[in-house]
Symmetry: C2
DNA sequence: CGAGCCCTTGATGCATTTCAACGAATGTGG
DNA sequence: CCACATTCGTTGAAATGCATCAAGGGCTCG
């Protein structure tokens, strides 16, 4: 039980999550040292659950590599995907005793795992770090509100456009080609539409030369401005 | 500049928001005393903005009476309502420098207003209270996820059913009649549908005898169980 | 080479929006 | 107190967007 803070992938993930030492957050190095003691590194096969909705929320995970989606399913098998998470995102920390959604890997992934109670107690002892974390929570809340806005106001094809544009900040500057780690079905469930509608959306954007589809999972945005015009009602 | 903590409406609102003294939260009485010094009581006419999206987020508001909705509008005039807030809800506290949505009163209302920086500094000095507040934030996040789920997975009429059932917890036990403080348009914008669809939803639920409509704003739930069956896909 | 999976495309039907008219409630000025 | 305007809600008819059903194509892997 412990992780190697000096491993580059781990270090960058932690910094992404809690800030880096030159952010001048009080107690951050000690926090990381203590975290490294109490945490574990876990390997996750593709398409497996890190945890499921209603399981006791015993652990908190920080994604080190790979991609994960947060989702909730109905009894009838339909599903809402809440978010796609990438390196450096934290998941599973809530005040409730059980998880309110499931977390499923999209491909092989690795994560740092730490018990929720340990995390809580560390937040109690490092208030500056906790504060940083609450800022992140606030940003997440803002992102979900954006998503709610899009779900309520935009057409299916516009929602897909939003989704593709949201990929851009994750890329290097000027980059407009990217790899989608999720299936059409995942995208459809994220945007609240059928698989077919999502697929038609891709086709239509390609036909209008707003995007190019090298392969099912390799997309290039050809005309960002036109895409932005398209999603603005 | 100061409010009267002993005024019943104010006291209950604050307790609803930060906990009551018998919740045994460290420093709570001092927190309330300090809050009372730095806060103001403001009267708000019906249908006016407490603040608008993109305004500098200078103040935090705690609703004492009346009802408020949080919303965001597009350039073309369409609108998404994020939430309806009632007595004891806090709004406007975020880490960003500007509000990310507008707050508009549904009818005449009163609120406690305090500067955001004062609120922040009090949270720094009363960590137990801040922690209580972050729990509330977590609950809000869970509620928004529920809303996102409903928006993505349910039909328009089902969403309306959800909305009506959500009114119940706010009522006394066994109570099934309530007053809706918002218009059909507000409801439609909350649930991401047209005014007409919302209206047809009410009519249909009335025709099926799941609800009764005494007047436009007075609704009775006649058969809660059937309504729950209806919204479960 | 064939099986299986995922994606695409077409055809059809249903849910929801849009356009339009009407009705009920409320307020205003004569 | 009544005619009138105004606002808000309801209802109908037509148009549209999206889901569903169904078939076929391309990729990957044994």
């Amino acid at each position: 039980m412990s992780i190697d803070y000096n491993k580059v992938t781990i270090k960058t993930s932690l910094h992404h999550c809690f800030g880096s030492p030159n952010d001048d957050i009080e107690g951050l190095p000690q926090f990381f040292a203590e975290l490294a003691e109490g945490a574990d590194e876990v390997d996750i096969k593709g398409n497996t659950f890190l945890f499921r909705e209603k399981d006791p929320s015993d652990y908190v995970y920080i994604l080190v590599s790979g991609a994960v989606m947060l989702e909730r399913s109905t009894s009838t098998g339909s599903r809402q995907v809440f978010a796609f998470l990438y390196t450096g995102n934290l998941m599973g920390l809530s005040e409730q005793l059980t998880y309110s959604f499931s977390a499923k890997s999209l491909a092989d992934a690795t994560a740092i795992r730490i018990s929720r109670s340990a995390m809580q107690s560390m937040f109690d002892r490092y208030p500056a770090v906790a504060q940083k974390y609450h800022k992140v929570t606030g940003r997440i809340l803002a992102l979900i509100l954006d998503q709610l806005f899009i779900m309520g106001q935009k057409s299916a094809h516009q929602r897909l456009g939003h989704f593709l544009l949201d990929m851009i900040p994750k890329l290097g500057r000027g980059q407009s080609q990217f790899y989608l780690p999720m299936s059409r079905q995942d995208i459809a469930d994220y945007l609240g539409m059928s698989l077919e509608t999502a697929s038609r959306g891709f086709s239509r954007l390609k036909r209008s030369k707003l995007i190019d589809i090298q392969s099912n999972y390799h997309i290039t945005i050809l005309d960002e401005q036109k895409l932005r015009d398209f999603i603005a009602d």
